[in-house]
Every structure is written in C-alpha cells, then in structure tokens.
Subunit: 162 residues, 2 copies
C-alpha cells in the first residue's frame, strides 16, 4: 500500500513535469509546419544571396547579402532537429511532409549527425564570409552551403513531384 | 523621331532592369507563403524564449534563449517588407493571408514605418539582452518584443477565426 502510494506520487510528479514540458511543446503537425517554415525562411534567404553573388559586381548589395546569411546561420543554429520527432515522419491529415522515414532510423544517426554538423558549420562560415563583404568569397562559400543543404536533401528528403 | 527612339531605348532599358530584378523575385503567392514562413519561424522562437524566461531560474537555458533571439533579430532584419507588395493583399487561390488591406494604404505608410522600425529595434535589443544571459532582463525585453509584434497585429492583421 505504501509502495502503491509512492508509485502514485511518482506518477503524479512525472505527469506534472510532462505537463510543464508540454506547455512549451508543439503538436506533431505543428512541428512539421514549423520546420517547413524554417526551411522556407532559409531558402528565401539563400535565394537572395544567390541573386547577389551571381549578379553583377557593381550591383552587389553587401548588407542585404550579410543579413540574409545571418538568417541562414540563426535558423541553422536554432535546434531544427527538435522538430523531427517520432510521429512527424509522415503526413498528418492535410499537413504533408517530404521527410524520408530513413531520417528517424537509429542506424542513420551517425550519418545524420555528420550532415547536420557540416550544415551548421557551413552556415556559420557563410555568415562570417558574407560579413566580410567580398562577392567572390561569398559566392564560393554559398556553393559550400548549397552542397551542405543538398547532402541532406539527397539522403533524407523525398523528391518533389514535378 | 529622336525623342521616340530615346523613349524606346529608355523603355527597353527599364524592361531589362525589371527582368533582371524579376529573376530574383517570387510570385505573389510565394511571397505570401514566404512571409508566413518568416513569421512562423519568429513565433516558434518567441515561444522558446517565453518558455525559458517564464520558467524556473535553475532551468534557464541561456544558449537556447540567445540563439532563439538571434533568429528573431535576423528575420526581423531580413527585409520582410519586400514580401508585402501589390497583389499580395488577399488570398490567391488556396493561399490565404490575414493581412488587412490597410497595410497597403499609402495613408498608413508613416504609421507602418514607425511600427516596423520599433519592431526591428526591439528585436535587436532582445538579441543583445538575451546574449547577456540574464533571465529577468530577457523576460523584460521579451515583453517589449511582444508589444512590438502586437502593435502590428492589432492594426494590420485580421483576427484569427476561432
């Protein structure tokens, strides 16, 4: 009886903690939408950088480019991984996702970690190089960033239906 | 005739510039989706900050909070205003928007400018304060940031249907 009470108190305490954490947590469908928003925000800014680094040198907008790179860096460092949890591996109602189930496979954890680590590293470097204001150097690092994005897309994202 | 040629050349040059700019531009429906992604990305990070600054002091995660604030700052400084152009003031097919037509009214330009200016300023300050790692100071500035967001929501965003 004493043990039962102890177990019940523990269960209640666990529930309390769980509720407290849940208050900050998103529903699985919100996680899918939130991570898609993050990637779209990065893609928009990558698009702005692309137009700048591939455009004419006399039209190169350093400030716009550096600010766009800061968005990519900030979002890359914002814990996007926390939005990929069990239950977000496939569509929920109307909320679709292009993630492959392979991303959630523990067998791929090491490879995923390497891909994500490189992604964050290249994003940090992109912001650093872009802050320098040199168009050619930024173009080169933009290429590295693109490769880092693509590494994950190739492995863990379902191709878009044309 | 000379004037006509001059006008034609000018028109051609203008077209060229317009085309060149268009290459970096998004369709109106993509602009709506992109700005929504930007706001959702900021809201997600504001939610993370809220949970941290309102949570217990011994659980305060400085790094997570500072990184989340950097996302808000970076997106706030990324030229979101460029995504509010003529033709994006109402739904396009399935792509809905909660923006009020008043945002596009030149009569509101000055007020909009003040709201946006304050929003960027408070976002910059939030990142600065959060980088300091003090929970109470960050809570206070989080409140100011929330007010800056709300100022625009109250004036230029349609209330969500419950």
């Amino acid at each position: 009886m004493k043990n039962l009470l102890k177990t019940s108190l523990l269960a209640a305490a666990t529930l309390l903690v769980a509720t407290s954490v849940a208050a900050q947590q998103l529903k699985p469908e919100e996680m899918i939408q939130t991570r898609q928003a993050g990637y779209k925000t990065m893609a928009w800014n990558m698009g702005k950088i692309k137009a700048q680094v591939e455009g004419p040198a006399d039209k190169f907008d350093k400030t716009l480019t550096a600010n766009a790179a800061l968005v990519v860096k900030a979002v890359a460092n914002s814990g996007m991984g926390s939005l990929f949890v069990a239950g977000t591996d496939k569509a929920i109602g109307d909320i679709k996702t292009r993630v492959k189930p392979e991303l959630f496979d523990p067998a791929n954890k090491e490879e995923l970690g390497k891909i994500v680590g490189n992604f964050v590293q290249q994003a940090n470097k992109l912001a650093e190089v872009a802050a320098g204001g040199d168009q050619k150097a930024t173009l080169a690092q933009f290429g590295e960033m693109g490769k880092a994005c693509k590494a994950c897309h190739d492995k863990f994202r379902i191709d878009e239906k044309k």
